[in-house]
């Protein structure tokens, strides 16, 4: 991961009138990396992408391509491949002409263009579709043409703005695999935009999560899930329980936090003053339910409010005095052949427990 980054964004900022679409965005993308920009609608993902592609000029900040400042370059000089949401295929050109466009703009010889178009179309399994117009293709086929067009001229970087959002589930996972293969086989650097967190987690080397135009956190999927930097990330990626409390004392790494009338243990490498206001975040799947809970560092008693069968697991909501509703997920099928969490009945008391390592401490309320 060391050496000169393939692309380096430094403090990119973009305003539209009073709206700050992107605020102080910085990130380094390593060669061959698959980086995903993830965030809710309107968080500035497309704006970042369009500044990288050169379609809109940042109000502040700089862009470096392998160490070279390219902030002032036009899009045609940057030569990044781009796949648009909705694909933006040229409707008046055939599939082959669409794919050949970038090569033609670079003045490649005709024979070489034809050869390359053939190779790339075969790569996305669209041989035989050369002479069709985009409107004569299905959504998935159009998507593949857009991909072929973007990689045909061997760009430095591939930018993809929600390329899969129009595809159905099955096609989507197929294309996801193809994208990963493309990333590996060609060593091409990917910047991929999505608002689907599962897609982001399963595809990416690293994920940059955006919120309100700001970069909330950047890291590997595991980093983000295991060690969310703030409440937004913890709530946006997967589900989390949040408890607000005050630090009571710290012994080594172990911190005791008073939440309501409860004393809960968590781990923090940071030194925290007694009385510091903190938020504990706890993933539902890290909570043990029933007898298994008894042996945990943190045990609370609750009243089971609802039980939702999810197939592979069961979601349990329990009312715990002092902290409110606690969401946990448990296996629906116990290894000993028993009913797992189905054994717990609604309206009955239930024990819930988790280890000190299970919760993450955030120094914000």
């Amino acid at each position: 991961m060391n050496g000169t980054p393939a692309l380096s964004a430094r403090n990119l900022t973009k305003r539209y009138g009073p709206v700050v679409a992107v605020d102080d965005f910085s990130a380094d993308i390593q060669p061959g990396e698959f980086l995903t920009l993830l965030g809710p609608s309107g968080s500035g993902k497309s704006t970042v992408l369009s500044m990288i592609a050169g379609f809109s000029a940042p109000d502040a900040g700089r862009l470096h391509l392998r160490g070279q400042d390219i902030t002032a370059w036009g899009p045609e000089k940057r030569a990044f491949g781009m796949v648009y949401q909705g694909y933006a295929l040229f409707p008046h050109m055939t599939v082959a002409q669409n794919v050949a466009f970038g090569l033609r703009m670079r003045g490649r010889p005709k024979a070489q263009i034809a050869e390359r178009v053939r190779t790339v179309l075969a790569r996305v399994r669209l041989d035989g579709f050369e002479d069709r117009l985009p409107r004569q293709l299905s959504g998935g086929q159009q998507q593949r043409v857009a991909l072929a067009r973007a990689i045909a001229f061997e760009p430095n970087l591939l930018l993809l703005d929600e390329p899969l959002s129009a595809l159905d589930r099955q096609l989507r996972s197929e294309v996801q695999r193809e994208l990963r293969e493309l990333n590996r086989d060609l060593g091409l650097t990917f910047i991929f935009v999505t608002h689907d967190q599962d897609e982001a987690m399963s595809l990416s080397d690293r994920v940059a999560v955006m919120n309100n135009g700001r970069l909330a956190q950047i890291g590997t999927p595991a980093d983000l899930y295991e060690r969310p930097a703030n409440r937004f990330i913890a709530g946006f990626l997967g589900q989390s329980n949040f408890f607000s409390g005050d630090v009571e004392e710290q012994r080594g790494d172990e911190v005791a936090v008073r939440v309501g009338g409860l004393r809960l243990l968590a781990i923090s490498p940071e030194r925290l003053q007694a009385g510091t206001e903190v938020t504990l975040t706890l993933r539902p799947e890290r909570i043990a339910v029933g007898d298994a809970a008894r042996s945990c560092a943190n045990v609370v008693e609750g009243m089971l409010r609802s039980r939702t069968y999810l197939g592979s697991s069961i979601a349990i909501e329990a009312e715990v005095e002092g902290i409110g509703l606690l969401l946990s997920t448990a296996a629906a099928w116990a290894p000993d052949g028993g009913g797992g969490a189905t054994a717990f009945g609604e309206g009955q008391p239930v024990a819930l427990g988790w280890s000190a390592h299970a919760a993450t401490l955030l120094s914000e309320r």
Binding site: G74, P91, R149
Partner: protein
């Protein structure tokens, strides 16, 4: 299914019947009458139509009309294209300003506009005086009472009609297509030529045909700015019918005008077909 459909069609026809009758009575019937005069007056037969090939006067009028209309179209459409393009890609304030600039003249009658051009273009008009005061010319230029004056007035009149179909067709172009072309290495000019221009082609065709149709029937502007020396078909027909009167010749030329207009309209309808003008998304 088929029955309900035909029943619906019958109801529709019934509802439209009064309007259709009115149209038939007050529009199609008189027009048909007039056009039929072309084969009835002064004697039944195609004599009037023979004049298309024999009368040098009529041929001169027709060729002047065709020339003026084509030149007007050839100037008005590119100008309109430029305006529609600026309106389409311009900032919001620019767009509003330009749109008003294009549409406002529609509220000023052709008569008033022609007289404004007279004050500008005549021998001692503003343009000639200005050029003389600069010393660019010694003698006033003949800017009016000729084809030049007619074309200036007609182009000016036609600009909004050229702009509107172009605007509609450009609004349907996904601007990201131009971006995509740029991102793949096309310069601004190249992206315009390869993507925007071909996609706006249906608009260009529609605009050109609309302007052509409208210019054929022009009466006021050529009558005033042509000063009687440049005669176009509409004015010629008026003279035939009201002054001479030679109903047969006038009706024959009117028929020619109607046939050409209908042919152009058929061509035009092709370009307003959705499958021709809409970009795929």
């Amino acid at each position: 299914m088929g029955e309900t459909k035909s029943a619906a069609a019958r109801t529709g026809l019934l509802l439209a019947a009064p309007a259709l009758l009115l149209l038939l009575l007050f529009y199609l019937f008189p027009v048909g009458r007039v056009l039929s005069l072309s084969v009835l007056e002064p004697t039944p037969g195609l004599g009037n139509y023979e004049m298309l090939f024999t009368s040098s006067g009529i041929q001169a009028v027709l060729s002047a009309t065709a020339r003026i209309c084509l030149i007007t179209t050839a100037i008005a459409v590119p100008l309109g294209y430029l305006m529609a393009y600026v309106i389409t890609i311009g900032s919001r304030s620019m767009r509003t300003f330009m749109l008003y600039g294009v549409l406002l003249p529609l509220w000023v009658s052709a008569l008033v506009r022609s007289f404004v051009w007279v004050t500008l273009l005549q021998r001692r008009g503003l343009v000639n005086q200005f050029l003389q005061s600069l010393g660019v010319i010694d003698q006033p230029l003949p800017l009016i009472w000729n084809e030049f004056g007619v074309i200036v007035g007609m182009v000016h009149y036609m600009i909004p009609y050229a702009v509107l179909p172009l605007l509609a067709s450009m609004a349907a172009i996904d601007i990201r297509l131009v971006e995509a072309a740029r991102g793949m290495g096309a310069s601004r000019g190249r992206a315009f030529r390869e993507v925007f221009l071909p996609l706006s082609m249906p608009g260009i065709a529609a605009s050109a045909i609309l302007v052509l149709i409208l210019t054929f029937g022009f009466y006021t502007t050529p009558a005033i700015l042509g000063g009687g020396r440049t005669m176009m078909i509409a004015q010629y027909i008026t003279t035939q019918i009201l002054v001479l009167p030679r109903w047969g010749v006038g009706a024959m030329l009117a028929t020619v005008l109607v046939v050409v207009t209908i042919a152009l309209l058929l061509l035009l309808s092709r370009f307003f077909d959705p499958s021709h003008s809409r970009t795929e998304r």
